[in-house]
Symmetry: C2
Subunit: 335 residues, 2 copies
Amino acid sequence: MELSLRRLRTLREVARRGGVNAAAATLHYSPSAVSQQLEALSVEAGAPVLERVGRGVRLSEVGRVLVEHAEVLLAAERRAGAAVEGARQTLSAHLTVGVFPAAGAGVLPAVLADLAARHPGITLDSVEGDGESVVTDVRDGHLDLALLLDYPDAPEPWKADLRVVPLGQDEIHLAVADGSAHGPGAALEALADEDWILSGPHTYWGRAVRTACRRAGFDPRVRHHVDSSATALAMVAAGLGVALVSDLGRVFCPSRGVVVVPLARPLSRTISIAHLPHTGERPTARAVLAAFARAAGAAGLAPVEAVHEGRAGQVPTRSEAASRANPSSSGTRGT
Amino acid sequence: MELSLRRLRTLREVARRGGVNAAAATLHYSPSAVSQQLEALSVEAGAPVLERVGRGVRLSEVGRVLVEHAEVLLAAERRAGAAVEGARQTLSAHLTVGVFPAAGAGVLPAVLADLAARHPGITLDSVEGDGESVVTDVRDGHLDLALLLDYPDAPEPWKADLRVVPLGQDEIHLAVADGSAHGPGAALEALADEDWILSGPHTYWGRAVRTACRRAGFDPRVRHHVDSSATALAMVAAGLGVALVSDLGRVFCPSRGVVVVPLARPLSRTISIAHLPHTGERPTARAVLAAFARAAGAAGLAPVEAVHEGRAGQVPTRSEAASRANPSSSGTRGT
DNA sequence: CACCGGTGTCAAGCTTTGCTTCATGGAGCT
DNA sequence: AGCTCCATGAAGCAAAGCTTGACACCGGTG
């Protein structure tokens, strides 16, 4: 009995997904490779691991037993990996994190600078993607971590098997053209007659803003459907309409032509990091999580417990917020 | 972290043997292969798994941690294998057993016939060897089971990490030429002036017989140093001297010319089977053990708990003993 | 009924892994 | 110094393992 962890992994995936093709897709194999691995497992076990039923396939009794033990073995493998990471005096690993665009521009540079200073051995790759895709990629193990956005009215129950640690609140403000009549403390309902620049209702952002407007008593007249914050803000500067922008999104503000003013009734979204349960035991992953937490604080994101208060003046610039949140930081994030 | 059980196995072996060469020898690899596997493990772990010290090597901290987890993983692998064997409705496997010569001729045929009838899927290979070599081969995993002989005055403490299940007592008798003056119930000391046919003192058998004679008050005059029972018995038939022979050894008795008579003071050796602890959990191994137990009973070996009593007449033939021990058996052991 | 769209498997080819053999570099022993 | 033993490096070759493309099979559908 000379088992191979690789084969056990694919067997488990077949058991989870209920099919050879599905397992092959998530493992980035061809279906044929999965089939061959299962065949090899069957030879090893002395009995077929799965039996054909209809046009699909089902685990045999031996297959079920083997999957059961595969779970034990793979869990032990993960623990071994974490233990090795811990035993290595200098943390080093290669992690991949899924980010949404604003985070990529707004917090990733600070995180990378932080990591480079504290743990030079840790390298971080980022993959841009929306909330839905990154969560499934985390669940499949293709991403170690994923930054997520949670909007107040859109609970996301599909993260039940993931650990989600909140990073902070990303407050949402109003972006208007320079010289606009809308001053600090603008009420959302005062913008009912404006032209809006917003992403479509198929995005979380588009849906969240529409919901907020509707609660304020109007449907925004969206004249320009734009997915990227950078484009939206450029349009605002060009006088095409108004838009909402979050703290993080302000990295995309053009140098001139746009004024960001606080909303009368504060609106915010929660930024958090999702990962598989066992990832939290990896020392390198913990180091990265800590770096993200520091970067969030330095970027001026309010802690999730913070109580929202109305503000009197204009929204502080990011560097002002940063120095308030972390006076010792000199704001070394760039690009 | 994509561990390979094969590499972990060699790492553990290096840890146990304390060197690359030694591990390579027991694993039947070349030293270079072991070295390469360890290098691959080091890359995987992100840190060297072992460090050179003097002209040898020593495990690094990471290596120690990895070995610790390797033990867990390999134990889990063994359990998985046993579970698969159990889940397979028809027992089938290929086991290798180490035997001493008399057992090979005396009990193996019965065992194979028994297995062929009850579990056609189980195939058994046998390797002839002395007690010492088979024990180390069992310990290294090259043999699944090993038949052992234990002599009363020669405890063998080097089987501490093995499970040893006793099969029965193999009684030792006197073999003399046909027409000899020595009758039933011969006392050992009456043979002090005979010419002896015996193996050298480097063998367990030779040592045990010499010890028994010495306890009877004399040193046997060994004129013919013969390792094999078959040759010794042929020499007895030819009138070259006397020899001792065990129940199992009687399969080598020539058809005529030799008379086997019981000793006045019974002498016996214990036959047992040794295996690694986890082997006892394998259903196929249990089936083989059961077959050996049945064969031992059918061969007329007394249970180890049996009390020795002096006997009045000649030693019963093997088929008489067999029918007494197991009346339904028709004695189908041959060659 | 014939036809897709989907399943899993088979066969051939090629890349990669991984072993062996032979040669090299140190560390201890005489 | 010379010798021996241990571990490692380089080259070569065999086997494992993946991919592509073709096939067989089942189930729903026009």
